[in-house]
């Protein structure tokens, strides 16, 4: 038995697959690929499968990963090609590795927010820079207090580690580094919502997760 890390993209319409549904989708894909899975030895045997960091519904990603346990002689290349052949549209297998870093060390995520429906790209980018250069950007974050879900006000500016603005005519792109992981997690849609609130009607956005990092800013591998 050994553990392998499957790297995949979740783009296009597949971004509307929730995390729970993704687990079902992936376990069926693994069954179709006929990879020799290792099963738990309990009363109700099931395959071992765990995801590094769940992705919010509606977000795209090019850095998703899932760990599975396999049995028998099969190389990472063979796993890659058998899985690649059975994936649904929008979930693309990129590579299969042994997995070097434990997902619990994930601390930051780099996100790309692509805006569309913007009338004047230049004005919009000026507004972006204006928002991001302020010292305070209060937003309501849904958190937990015991078992209850409560809204808590946070200053978004304290969490934004880095950002850059790319002007691409009608579709400006904001790249931002935010805390991500089991300790502190700030959903980039909090920032995106705040921006389109000021941008007026007709502007929409799609978020793409590009890369995950440890607290030492080492790329998650």
């Amino acid at each position: 038995m050994r553990c392998v890390r499957i790297w995949f993209e979740k783009v296009g319409m597949s971004r509307y697959i929730s995390h729970l549904d993704l687990m079902r989708t992936m376990s069926r894909a693994v069954r179709r690929s006929k990879i020799p899975l290792w099963y738990t030895e309990g009363f109700n045997p099931h395959p071992y499968m765990t995801f590094a960091l769940p992705l919010s519904l509606g977000m795209e990603s090019i850095c998703e990963s899932m760990d599975i346990k396999i049995e028998g002689e099969i190389s990472n290349e063979e796993i890659f090609s058998s899985l690649k052949a059975v994936m649904p549209e929008g979930i693309n297998i990129k590579s299969v590795t042994d997995g070097e870093i434990d997902p619990k060390y994930i601390a930051f995520g780099k996100f790309e927010i692509r805006f569309s429906g913007v009338e004047n790209g230049e004005d919009f980018c000026l507004m972006l820079k204006d928002i991001l250069s302020s010292s305070e950007l209060p937003v309501q974050k849904l958190g937990k207090k015991g078992r209850k879900k409560v809204y808590k006000e946070i200053n978004l500016m304290e969490y934004i580690k880095e950002y850059s603005v790319k002007e691409a005519s009608q579709e400006p792109v904001l790249e931002v580094l935010l805390p991500a992981g089991s300790v502190t997690n700030v959903n980039p849609s909090l920032l995106a919502e705040e921006i389109i609130k000021r941008a007026g009607d007709g502007v929409s956005y799609v978020i793409l997760r590009k890369e995950l990092f440890t607290d030492k800013m080492e790329s998650f591998k």
Binding site: G12, M13, S14, Y16, I17, S18, L20, D21, R24, T25, S27, R28, A29, V30, R31, R32, Y39, N44, P45, L57, G58, V86, P88, E89, G90, S204
Partner: protein, 618 residues
Amino acid sequence: MVSREIEKILPLVQKPGRYTGGELNSVIKDKSKVDIRYAFCFPDSYEIGMSHLGIKILYSAANKREDCWCERVFAPWHDMEEEMRKRNLPLYALESGDPIKDFDLIGFTLQYELSYTNVLNMLDLAGLPIKSSERKSLTPIVVAGGPCACNAEPMAEFIDLFLLGDGEELCDEVITLLKESKKENLSKEDFLKKAAKIEGVYVPSFYDVSYNEDLTIKAVEAKNGAPEKVKKRIVSDLDSVHYPDNFIVPFIEVIHDRVVHEIFRGCIRGCRFCQAGFLYRPIREKSADTINEQCKVLCEKTGYDEISLSSLSTSDYTHLEELLNKLLSWTIPEKINVALPSLRVDNFSDELMEKLSKVRRSGLTFAPEAGTQRLRDAINKNVTEDEVLRTSAKAFSGGWTAVKLYFMLGLPTETYDDVAGIAELSQKVVDEFYKNPDKPKGKGVQVSISVSSFVPKPFTPFQWEAQDTREELENKQKHLLSNIKTKKISVSYHKVEISFLEGVFARGDRRLSKVIEYAWKNGCKFDSWDDSFKFDVWLRAFEETGIDPLFYSSRKRDFSEILPWDHLDYGISRKFLEKENKKAHESQTTPHCRIKCAGCGANKLNGGKCDALCENLV
């Protein structure tokens, strides 16, 4: 692919995965290379529709043709509909994202009466007139099939043609005719005239219905060369007929999310309340080899880890042992679960029990349907109390601690003693648990009884009976509850308002079209969902249209009366149904079809062949 406009509203709605398409194994074709665009509509939510086996069969059968692209359409949930209407986005098909109003063929499956308003709503959301007479051009042709098509008179004003019986071959012929008619530039009327000649096609506008003063039907007259009686279609051989080698695997969880395999069509039992038991006759079985092979392929292509065998009564399948042996030989090593729904208490053998314990254990459900032997005899549910108790005991000694029992209230000839009998029988099942010497320590027993309200249906021996009124049903529910003395029995029952409406529409005639239209215009849709059900609007709809619903639901009909579905022929002779009705009132049973052929007449549909294989065939 859905359009950019649709993509924009997806983040605003619940469960966007319902509306994206793109699931594994969905069929994408080049639209410039097909002659017929076919929208297969299920008038309920994605999760319900995607669980339905019929849509999987017909979708794959239509897409086998190179000249046809069949796509799926479901009723958008309230929130999605609101966003679509706000932006004037018409109803689209999931595979291409194209508006269905530009399609050639729009097909609805009518599985239950309370989905009728959703049919209207989907046509309207597509941007089409809801009435057949107002859709003048040849395409789109709006067709409907499914069990409710056996008396879809209440939908007669909205649907261009109904497809009666098995759809696999029938749909194919309609598609071919439509393709030719398009080439020849035929008018809609000329197409319908030709279609009416296909066996199994019912064009409601080709039948004039006149009424007597007492509101009953005086006569139904065929015109335009349509047949006096429309005979339902059947497929003769299930082994050779098309069965999908691929299922679409939904991204979001649907109700039945597994491989489903139909093992036979029809039923040998002849329970007098059961419409399915008569509608799908004659019995046609599929061979164990075919089922086993097809299940294997489906599991490989979908990655599902569960197979459910589907039929009206699984344990009546003659090769069940053989089939289970074949299936379990590969499902156990591959950790695939095999589920056997619809088991009967009277032939639940020890061997079957042993096989079942090898697969993952789910709950056990039995359906005695009535509480006393007299009433079970009247409805021809040939199950004895002894069998129910013996099977329960067997299940308890096999380690089960929960049993579910199905009953009905409001069956013809039912008395309050029969109602109390439900409580007594359930109590005896509880007692059976405590008689078991090896019962698990520290564990109680849970007997859940689910009590539905009886709805008389066309093509059953009870098609002439009066349905209990809502008051009667509620009183019976109260009486049942007052007779239950222990918390080990939990009771759930259906809303009587819903059963009442089903009762009206199941045996309704075409005058009810205007009630459905009124209710829909006043906001009724998703009526089978408790939180969407607007009973007050329905009551107003009857009042405003001047129609007395009790005329349809709670009136006992005479054998001499012309029934709204008498011009449709489902192979079951009226004489047979009358005889069965009389026997019900004398609490006399009819043995099942393998003991003695009851002479229902359905074997004539299949050239005299019937897989009940009774030697005394009438």
